[in-house]
């Protein structure tokens, strides 16, 4: 039984790389996306909206196939792990941009007005006034999204990434039936998601005291 657990644990680094890498790319790319989405320039707004709709509308597994078998073999050589991280990163950027947008909509209009009336330039208002407040209200939905991404990262096993799911299906096949590997996988995924849930709860409590 312990052997089985150790086999599955071998997939943890890839699972963490997929989730962490995809989330990091998404968190960074989501920033220009939400700024474009809220821009005064109609073209930028439409471009961001188009990208968000396409990125969210296509299932992650289809994205991974397109990137790994399309892009990854034609233009540049990509390993399955790289393709997985890029694919999940693109999808995440769309979702996170929408989470940030919700944060901007929750921002009191008077905050921008006060900073504007003080003569602060637009870039300063974004950097010192809006962004910190948007980020704070975005943390709980971002943590929820992170846990979702951890589970969605299992699709990367379909393009051959050696993550927890890959080792699980291999172990299940080797045992011909039996659901023990899946139980262990369930246990592992829960274990991985607990720190995120805890982090989110602590941060939320801490920040909520100031914002209200």
């Amino acid at each position: 039984m312990m052997d089985l657990l150790f086999t599955l644990i071998k997939g943890v680094p890839a699972t963490l790389a997929l989730t962490g890498g995809g989330f990091a790319i998404g968190a960074v790319l989501g920033v220009p996306l939400v700024l474009m989405r809220r821009s005064h320039n109609r073209f930028l707004r439409w471009a961001a909206r188009g990208f968000i709709d396409v990125a969210r509308g296509i299932p992650p597994v289809v994205w991974l196939f397109i990137i790994f078998f399309g892009l990854g073999t034609g233009f540049v050589r990509l390993t399955s792990l790289q393709a997985g991280i890029i694919g999940l990163g693109l999808v995440s950027s769309a979702y996170l941009a929408e989470i940030y947008r919700g944060g901007f909509m929750a921002l009191h209009k008077g905050q921008i007005e006060a900073a504007t009336a003080l003569g602060m330039p637009a870039t300063d208002i974004l950097r010192y006034v809006s962004a910190p407040q948007v980020l704070r209200v975005s943390i709980p939905p971002m943590a929820t999204f992170f846990v979702g991404l951890l589970k969605d990262s299992t699709v990367a096993s379909t393009i051959g990434v050696r993550d927890v799911m890959m080792y699980t299906s291999q172990a299940a096949q080797a045992q011909s039936g039996g659901f023990a590997p899946f139980l262990f996988a369930a246990f592992l995924y829960i274990l991985l998601s607990i720190p995120v849930a805890l982090f989110s709860r602590v941060m939320d409590k801490k920040l909520r005291r100031r914002l209200s």
């Binding site: 009191h108 006060a114 003080l118 003569g119 602060m120 910190p132 407040q133 100031r210 914002l211 209200s212």
Partner: protein
């Protein structure tokens, strides 16, 4: 040449939202050190008019002089001009609008550092002076959510003063406060007026206007109905609309 007798000159200001004419041909000249109170029924365009002075509201036509800057509002202003205009005016809002994620000290120091280029040390020193002026020096390290509405509004006044504006604009500064907390804000404003600050105050506090203002302006339907020495305007209003407005206030008390 800008006229040096006046610190704010507004000429033929119009604000239009689609077909709705919120401010109609309002002209107003304000002397340095003068305290002007603007009263009138809701929807009179008082706040909209006040907000054109620092261009939070874009007028459709008119011209505007603040300090040594003159702007024609027919064309859109360059970004640099807008920043300059806003640096010479300070504004206090009905809803305080302090930055909730910053301490009181940072709320007042940050604009000085970003807008005037002061160092942290210089800014913090000025911040403490201002906090003493509004009698809240002991709250420098608190977050706004921990303070009462009256305290928040006094800090908002300190923040607006921090960029050394030539004129202070107050947009119903006590309307969101219960009467007692309103009094402490009015006390700070009274001191400010005594120190010679030029102030334009949109308010429903007629008693305060009568006592502190040099001039009272009554607005309704986007126009100035009447203006003059507060006691005269309140005692002998000329237009029937003004008379009706003051009667409603008197009947309440």
């Amino acid at each position: 040449m800008p006229d040096t007798d006046y610190i704010v000159r507004l000429k033929d200001i119009n604000v239009q939202y689609g077909t709705y004419h919120a401010v109609r041909n309002v002209t107003l000249d304000i002397r340095k050190g003068e305290v002007v109170a603007i009263v009138g029924p809701s929807g009179a365009g008082k706040s909209t008019f006040l907000r054109t002075i620092n261009m939070l509201e874009q007028p459709s036509s008119g011209s505007l002089q603040v300090g040594s800057f003159t702007f024609s509002l027919a064309q859109t202003l360059a970004n640099e001009q807008l920043l300059q205009l806003r640096r010479s005016t300070g504004m206090v809002f009905q809803s305080f609008n302090l930055f909730p994620h910053m301490t009181v000290r940072r709320n007042i120091s940050l604009p000085q550092m970003r807008v005037l280029g002061r160092s942290q040390l210089e800014a913090d020193r000025r911040t403490m002076q201002l906090l003493e002026r509004v009698h809240l020096a002991d709250k420098a390290d608190s977050y706004p959510a921990r303070l009462s509405g009256g305290q928040q509004q006094r800090i908002a006044i300190a923040r607006a003063l921090a960029i050394d504006p030539e004129v202070m604009l107050f947009d119903e500064p006590t309307s969101a406060l219960d009467p007692e907390l309103g009094l402490e804000v009015l006390a700070v404003m009274r001191e400010l007026a005594q120190d010679g600050m030029t102030m334009i105050v949109v308010t429903h506090e007629i008693a305060f206007a009568a006592e502190v203002a040099d001039r009272l302006i009554v607005m309704a339907e986007g126009q100035i109905l009447e203006e003059g020495v507060p006691s005269d305007v309140i005692r002998n209003p000329i237009s029937p609309r003004t008379r009706k407005f003051f009667r409603a206030i008197v009947d309440r008390h």
